[in-house]
């Protein structure tokens, strides 16, 4: 348990260290506007990774995250553009996304299919359906309230950050409470650490996986709608960077892909780390392709510092 907290603390320290490096090397790295931009980008990634965290804790993985983000992004814009009231748009998108996620979880658990391939297949089909519906050219727009909610220049009450930042903090507290204090949270960890023992504790894997994957897709859908406000227009591929980044954020935050351990605070730290690396590398003037290469090397380096798996001899 102490090891877990150390990993989370380590991830936050790495984020701070990266930020300090950036401040030294790059002029204007710690300007208020730059910090606000980094916070907003981190929050978007953190929201997109809520579901991945839950799914990884229960012992799965969700490759449909980027497709569901794109789905929510396009569908929300399209429906709002055709005159639906925005709250109704959100409810519809969340319900549809929840259905997609529930399908992912149900099929994976009931048929014991590996979720990697299944979520990939479902995601591909969902994206195809969205593209077909919009004929490849999504239209529509974002309501002004949504744009203000995520805009880097906006202010939340007296704080110089948009409402997205305090909202993500509230989400963090809520998810941590759910994981630590509710039967759902306990079942999640129990099922993830030992599926056989969990069955004797009368935890239904099918019900838990269905629910968890539904929550994952709803989280991704929220991120998709937020991205609509951030970019201002719909784009079906908007979620693609989040495929690997959501998994990387979870792992950098100390949640093991083997399931049963970790938490959302670590993922938030991981999201900060990834955003800092990205900003730093771009700030150093690297080409986008070199940013990608360096990002890969840094992810491996970070995870090998404190995210290493156990040797098989210690698991016997």
């Amino acid at each position: 348990m102490r090891g877990a907290w150390l990993r989370v603390a380590g991830a936050f320290l790495v984020a701070l260290g990266l930020h300090a490096t950036g401040t030294v090397l790059i002029e204007g790295y710690s300007e208020p506007f730059a910090i606000r931009a980094q916070l907003v980008l981190s929050c978007l990634l953190a929201v997109a990774s809520v579901g991945q965290t839950l799914v990884v804790i229960v012992g799965g993985i969700d490759l449909s995250v980027p497709f569901v983000i794109g789905f929510a992004n396009v569908v929300a814009a399209q429906l709002y553009g055709s005159g639906w009231p925005f709250p109704l748009v959100c409810l519809t998108v969340a319900a549809l996304a929840g259905g997609i996620g529930a399908l992912n979880g149900f099929l994976s658990a009931a048929l014991k299919v590996h979720p990697l391939i299944l979520t990939l297949g479902v995601g591909t089909a969902v994206q195809g359906a969205v593209l077909l519906w919009t004929a490849g050219f999504p239209t529509g727009s974002a309501p002004e309230a949504l744009t203000n909610f995520v805009s880097i220049g906006a202010e939340a009450w007296i704080f110089p950050v948009p409402w997205l930042v305090p909202a993500t903090a509230a989400l963090l507290v809520a998810v941590m409470l759910v994981l630590a204090r509710t039967p759902f949270g306990r079942r999640l960890y129990a099922l993830g650490s030992n599926p056989v023992a969990a069955r004797f504790a009368l935890i239904s894997p099918v019900r838990m996986w269905t629910l968890t994957y539904a929550l994952s897709a709803i989280g991704a859908a929220v991120a998709g709608v937020l991205l609509l406000g951030f970019t201002g227009s719909a784009y079906a591929d908007v979620g693609q960077p989040y495929l690997f980044q959501s998994i990387a954020a979870v792992v950098i935050g100390g949640t093991a892909l083997t399931g049963g351990q970790g938490g959302y605070l670590g993922t938030v730290a991981g999201a900060l780390v990834l955003t800092e690396i990205n900003t730093l590398l771009i700030g150093l003037g690297l080409q986008p392709s070199m940013v990608q290469a360096a990002l890969g090397a840094v992810i491996i380096g970070l995870v090998s510092l404190y995210g290493r798996a156990q040797h098989v001899r210690t698991t016997i």
């Binding site: 099929l107 048929l111 014991k112 590996h114 990939l120 297949g121 990002l295």
Partner: protein, 311 residues
């Protein structure tokens, strides 16, 4: 010799069905005279699926998502650096170079995943990003110019890369390492207790994956006849899906050459049949996703149902 697993039999039945459908739809394309070209079209995916398989067999999350970018990287170095910049066109240099680069990439992946013990999907995701980034830096835009002998590998000689991989795998199966790999993949704790060097066996599985990826890169270069920085990464998920579809268990320890190859041919025939109907790419994408899900679910159905009845 182990019997063919039930999953692979289902994939074989699907293959027969798809083959009949393809021949009925498009007899010319599937006529014997076109077999060389046809196999050349399918070879990169088949080789990529075969390359994905050894790392997955090792179990405990073993997977190599960098197979696609590795193919793209080797493709770029072969054409851009060796052929165009250095003017080397002989097979005696290019083929060993491709295979050596593959093995080196595999060894790096293996070292990170088994010695440093970074979880394999994260380790190879890291090399995925590194390799695709390096490829784009080396080669910002597609560039032509594969030598003639290499282009022939996607035509008259298209069986050659696959035959080489098949022979290599048959040879590997005759060594004790093959049994050690399956034992490690099925239950690494039992294998470790039985004295198998689990770390070394898993490391080797990544090296084999890399070697095979080198051959896959040759097949890809032969097919496109040029260097293209964007085409490689697409192969990763298709290759892993192919292997899984053919019956390579992502939990490790089950599957092999036949399973991965059959799964890849299934996906190739599926794409080929869907393309024939001349529907929009969006419908293609939906059908492709749905058929992937359906076939994997059908594959799992028989083993899921009795277990549920017994519980």
């Amino acid at each position: 010799m182990r019997a063919i697993s039930r999953e692979t039999r289902v994939a074989l039945a699907l293959l027969a069905l798809l083959l009949v459908l393809n021949v009925a739809l498009n007899p010319l394309r599937f006529a014997p005279a076109a077999w060389g070209t046809l196999l050349g079209l399918a070879a990169p995916l088949i080789c990529a699926a075969l390359a994905s398989m050894p790392a997955i067999l090792g179990g405990r999350g073993g997977i190599d998502v960098s197979v696609g970018p590795a193919m793209g990287f080797i493709n770029a170095v072969l054409i851009k650096t060796l052929v165009i910049d250095c003017g080397i066109t002989t097979a005696w240099v290019l083929v060993p170079a491709a295979i050596a680069m593959g093995a080196a990439i595999g060894a790096v992946n293996g070292a990170i995943a088994t010695l440093v013990r970074v979880q394999p999907i994260i380790a190879t995701l890291g090399t995925y990003l590194v390799l695709s980034g390096l490829t784009l830096t080396l080669l910002p835009a597609p560039l032509g110019g594969a030598p003639q002998w290499l282009k022939a590998l996607s035509g008259a000689w298209s069986l050659l890369p696959l035959a080489v991989l098949a022979l290599a795998w048959l040879g590997f199966k005759r060594t004790p390492l093959y049994d050690h790999l399956l034992a490690t993949g099925s239950d690494d704790r039992a294998a470790y207790s039985a004295g198998i060097n689990v770390t070394a066996v898993r490391f080797l599985s990544y090296v084999i994956t890399g070697l095979f990826a080198g051959v896959a890169a040759l097949a890809l270069t032969a097919l496109i006849g040029s260097a293209d920085p964007t085409i490689g990464p697409n192969f990763t998920l298709l290759a892993i899906s192919s292997a899984a579809l053919g019956g390579v268990s992502l939990a490790g320890g089950r599957g092999g050459f036949l399973a991965a190859a059959v799964g890849a041919v299934d996906i190739f025939l599926l794409q080929s049949a869907l393309t024939y109907f001349n529907v929009s790419t969006f419908v293609l994408q939906i059908s492709y996703g749905l058929i992937l899900v359906a076939s994997i679910c059908i594959n799992a159905l028989p083993s899921a149902l009795p277990r549920r009845g017994a519980a």
